[in-house]
């Protein structure tokens, strides 16, 4: 019995290590900057969802903003923008940007999470 528990714990640790080391375009390019901001990426997603509603609309609006950030089109509050201003335009390619936004959508999309 103890043998099985040991194997399970080992597998769990291995899995955690893999997750921690998950390396993709989103984790490399989005998380590093946002982890120092007071508003989480998840709250920002909910703000985007409240303004743009649908998947296609949200993704296209987000990509447009990331390519050419503008206070006028930001979903963040004036207080937040006064303090942190808008980000620099993204340096990602079109394909990388698409991939990052898709990952972002998949991660925080509320569908199938309501019950």
């Amino acid at each position: 019995m103890n043998k099985y528990i040991s194997i399970f714990i080992l597998l769990l640790l291995f899995n955690q290590t893999v997750i921690a080391k998950e390396d993709n375009i989103y984790t490399r390019n989005c998380i590093p900057c946002h982890e120092y901001l007071p508003s989480s990426l998840e709250r920002m997603f909910m703000s985007y969802l409240k303004v743009y509603s649908g998947e296609l609309t949200l993704k296209e609006s987000l990509k447009a903003f990331l390519r050419k950030p503008d206070k006028e089109f930001s979903v963040m509050s004036d207080l937040f923008l006064d303090r942190f201003d808008v980000k620099e335009p993204t340096t990602l390619t079109e394909a990388e940007l698409k991939e990052a936004v898709d990952i972002y959508w998949r991660k925080y999309n509320i569908r199938n999470k309501l019950h």
Binding site: E42, M46, L49, K50, V51, Y52, S53, G54, E55, L56, T57, L58, I110, R111, K113, L114, H115
Partner: protein, 402 residues
């Protein structure tokens, strides 16, 4: 044998009744259409009223649900239970009309209507300004209360029936007013015929009697020809006189049914009309079987006379007439001018004439039809324009044959 026929064979009154019923049917049909349309409008207005009342209530439910969605949006994902209310069901869809969540019992939704019925449910759609949880469309669903429907149907039936009865009574008055000019003109014509008939009897009888008495053996050939022409003309007028007499008096007197040798009668009438046929060089072919029939002799004579005289009158010069008498039927076929297909049904109507080149009042076949109706004889007409007409009288199966 004296048989009294109670049946009303007056086609004059039948035609009037027919016209009255036609007008009345059309009027009632239009009234029903009108009442139906008004009922539909009334039903729709009541339905609209119901939707209007529901709209207020459902709008209030929707506002409450929006508040709940706002709270859930704020606390998501810490809280992820979709807000529910026992008074209604709801569903949310995003701006691209993609499903987010639903508790609806009937998911047959319409994004383009504010409020609508689906099955036994009412759906109300609210368009959100802030898309909490990404929801642009919020659907609120409640069960439909059908009480208004039953109440409206009962009202429509009650009011509709009363309206139909009142308008129907008005209709009868209107129809009588509209038909008055037609009735007046028919009465005028009838009176004219009645008066004329009384004046025709004596002179015609005198002409025919004197023609019979004339000694043609001492007469010049030229005068014999002239006398024949006078005879033909006098017989034509006599035939018309007999029709008019029947029309004025015939159907008012009881029928005197007796066994008539139809073959003999037809042969005699053909002989009577032979001069008329000869004047147009018409050849009459007879195929007559023995057939006795229980009928009023004057009436069957009118039938035979009219069919033969019409066959001669409307035939071409040097045409042919075929007269057949069998156990089951009596047929007269001519090679005359014929009648257009769409007018065949009207040939038995009184005063209907299809050829203005020949004289007549258009009463002969009307008399024939009234007699055939009285004795339940079936009649079939087959006519081809410019080729000829065939009239076939079928004796009823139970018609007595001595």
């Amino acid at each position: 044998m004296l048989a009294s026929k109670n049946r009303d064979i007056s086609l004059h009154h039948n035609n009037e009744k027919q016209s009255l019923w036609r007008f009345l049917s059309l009027y009632i049909f239009l009234v029903i259409v009108l009442v139906s349309l008004l009922s539909i409008f009334y039903y729709q207005s009541q339905e609209e009223l119901m939707f209007s009342n529901m709209r207020t209530k459902l709008s209030q439910y929707a506002n409450e649900q929006v508040k709940n969605l706002k709270i859930l949006h704020h606390y998501f994902p810490a809280k992820s239970q979709y807000p529910r209310d026992e008074r209604f069901q709801s569903a949310i869809y995003d701006i691209e009309r993609v499903f987010i969540f639903s508790t609806l019992k009937n998911n047959n939704i319409d994004f383009d209507k504010e409020i609508y019925r689906v099955g036994d449910k009412i759906h109300f759609v609210k368009y959100l300004d802030d898309y909490y949880l990404g929801a642009k469309y919020l659907f609120i669903e409640v069960d439909e209360d059908r009480a208004w429907h039953h109440e409206t149907i009962i009202q429509i039936i009650a009011i509709g029936t009363v309206a139909l009865i009142i308008l129907g009574i008005f209709g009868i008055f209107f129809v009588k007013i509209f038909l008055r000019p037609m009735r007046n003109s028919i009465e005028l014509l009838d009176n004219f015929i009645k008066d004329t008939t009384h004046e025709l009897n004596t002179p015609i009888s005198a002409i025919l009697a004197n023609i019979e008495m004339m000694d043609t053996e001492i007469m010049a050939q030229k005068n014999i020809k002239k006398l024949r022409r006078i005879n033909v003309a006098a017989k034509t007028v006599s035939h018309l006189y007999q029709d008019l007499t029947y029309l004025v008096l015939g159907h008012q007197t009881p029928s005197r049914d007796e066994w008539i040798d139809l073959r003999e009668l037809i042969a005699a009438r053909v002989e009577y009309f032979s001069l008329l046929a000869d004047s147009k060089k018409i050849e009459i072919a007879l195929d007559l079987q023995e057939r006795k029939i229980l009928i009023d002799s004057a009436k069957i004579a009118r039938v035979v006379d009219n069919l033969i005289s019409n066959a001669i009158k409307y035939n071409k010069r040097a045409g042919k007439i075929k007269i057949i008498l069998k156990e089951e039927y009596f047929l007269v076929a001519d090679t005359g001018i014929g009648i257009e297909k769409d007018k065949v049904a009207a040939i038995f109507d009184r005063y209907s004439r299809f050829n203005s080149s020949e004289g007549g009042f258009g009463i002969g076949l009307n008399i024939v039809k009234s007699i055939l109706n009285e004795y339940n004889f079936d009649v079939r007409v087959n006519s081809i324009l410019h080729q000829g007409t065939t009239i076939k009288i079928i004796f009823p199966k139970e018609a007595p044959n001595e």
